[in-house]
Symmetry: C2
Subunit: 430 residues, 2 copies
Amino acid sequence: MINTSTKVNSFDILLGKIKTKRTCVGIVGVGYVGQPLAEATSEVGFRTIGFDIDQAKVEAVNSLNKNLLSATNNFEKLSESDIICICVPTPIDDSNKPDLSFVENAARNISKHLSRGQLVILESSVAPGTTREILLPILEESGLKAGDDFFLAYSPERIDPGNQEYNLMNTPRVVGGLDEKSTELVKSFYQSFVHNVLGVSSPEIAEMSKMLENTFRFVNISLINEMAEYANARSINIWEVINAAATKPYAFMPHYPSAGIGGHCIPVDPYYLIDDASKIGVTLRILSQAAIVNESRPRKVVEKAFELVNGNGRTDNNGNGKSAQPIKFLILGISYKAGSKDTRESAALKIWRVAESMGAQVSYYDPYVPKLNGWNSTKLTEKIIAEHDAIIIATDHKNIPYDIILSSGKPILDTKNIFRSNGLGRVYKY
Amino acid sequence: MINTSTKVNSFDILLGKIKTKRTCVGIVGVGYVGQPLAEATSEVGFRTIGFDIDQAKVEAVNSLNKNLLSATNNFEKLSESDIICICVPTPIDDSNKPDLSFVENAARNISKHLSRGQLVILESSVAPGTTREILLPILEESGLKAGDDFFLAYSPERIDPGNQEYNLMNTPRVVGGLDEKSTELVKSFYQSFVHNVLGVSSPEIAEMSKMLENTFRFVNISLINEMAEYANARSINIWEVINAAATKPYAFMPHYPSAGIGGHCIPVDPYYLIDDASKIGVTLRILSQAAIVNESRPRKVVEKAFELVNGNGRTDNNGNGKSAQPIKFLILGISYKAGSKDTRESAALKIWRVAESMGAQVSYYDPYVPKLNGWNSTKLTEKIIAEHDAIIIATDHKNIPYDIILSSGKPILDTKNIFRSNGLGRVYKY
């Protein structure tokens, strides 16, 4: 009886506090997901504390000088929060296995300071079951019981960096609580700053919805790369094919070839699913082959670049690194997407690595990334272009003077259809 | 010089005739693609002749009693046409190899009666290169030269039977001629009755655009079936997951699970691509695995249905057909899509075949298909339902009294999410 009344009280109290903005929101991890969330919650009137072990991120939040928003690396202040959002990275390791250590560390920190009536929300992309099977047991090490003493839910972030149309507020939000009360609380919380919030019947549904979204992207980008390889073999311009298919007004969505999928999310999440499926004995055939296609792209691009150079009169190097004079590639665009300085999982970096392993020398030009791992973005002059054997366009930044590259007469491997016209001299679409 | 002037004259003459509707249009194959095309061309003022070896199709066209439109099985009348559209089937054989015999036969008939200044258009779905490598040589057996004496183009049909929003007129059309003059003529022709026509730079681009559209559908439906199998193993309702993911307003398109892809187009076209790619040494990994997933669906559905029956107390049959009392399945919906009587490539038929091969007895109910291969659609009464061990919903027709099935207490394998609520007694979503 005591438990039941505690439960009801906690729920009513927290719901009331959310509706009147008298809750304090703690956000664990204030990177590219947590920081905009912290800005949004503080802007609508919640006192908000950001938590991060990375002092640079803490300072980035504090330097915003926003009312109601502060950040700290002192996790003891978690006890001041009524709502705790976990926005930590969920990367994969070198063998493509999920690395949940950030989630687990966040959970342990929260568990230490967990108190009755708090609501914990996981926003990081995870395999179905993670909230219930990984997060919940760590939180209950506190001695408190989910559903009775505290509330727990999963709600995937849907941040698309650089998207001008859809942001935190106008992108619908999916929420799945461990129980109905958790769902109701987490719905009410997000409804404070998100226009549309959909409650689903479990954390697993919400977890898998995020996996499905990113798996859809991953498979479709890999599929168009597979189609591009076929089209190349048939001397068909895949970009013109896609534009033609895209005139179909229903049942089609265009995706575009690339040197490989980049960024923090799409190239990572499917491995969570592959890993979990293999644990329960389910073979994800299509997804696994999509992963193979995606992983093979950078090497195929580099091989094609070597081919272009050798076809251009340089026959002293076959890509085995045994030439006296190494082939020099200039990569244009090193970040993972146009207009961004973010180089995480960038296909351009993979091209760089593969090209070096095959004996080439690599320079790069990227107006958004002046320095990278001790290297500098080169200047884009006629003289510098002339020092290279071929140019690989890896990212389609808008503000690059492509004319100077075209007029250089060097072979250009155009993986992003920068040069739309067909038959432009040494431009090879890939 | 004679050739050049003939060419220019033929082009100008045909273009003028198209613009003033003084051309006669011949349509070879007046099935579900050719018949609506014939109706459209005759409605906008072209004298139109339909050709078919199937007398029933010829009569179907003639019974429309349309002005300017007639049909015949006499291919000699092809010589009356200025424009000839090929709308014949391009099926696959039992080993999933393309069967181009209908295209080749049509081409031979046309070749026999080909005359100077005619425009030939292929609309059937084919692998890239088919217009140039298969159709063109047969037509040139006439002694006439494409480009000089006659014009040749490819333009894929985009018929979606039952689509209430998009029809022949308001679905954009892709056209690719063998040369610029062919493209211009074919553009002008379709612009007479289609709102938007996109000219592309070759028949191959147009051929592949159609392959890409259908490959997109094929892979995405197979992918969602793969996801459904994972979700089933995890006891996650995939339909709720899809609805949640579909709230994402960009970069996602929902597809839905099924017992397998049906119809005349989507389940067939990818095999054209797989076949052609293998000929030129390209492995289509993702597409090949999608094909395996799709082909395995009917058996998985049947196995699940056996499981439901055995879990429902019938333990005398394990699906090996050795039981004294065969299990009886009732399949609801036998056509390949809701609201249609078309049973081509229907997954329901595959379920039927697999179930029988595993020792079950099968009846079906489909208000659109009263008779099929000597069988009759059963009546849907309490008594008849009671005679079956389980019900498999294969197609989501709207006008089926699902309540009577639900109240029967029999296990229901709901492959189309007819029963939206969770936890409905013996309803199993798949």
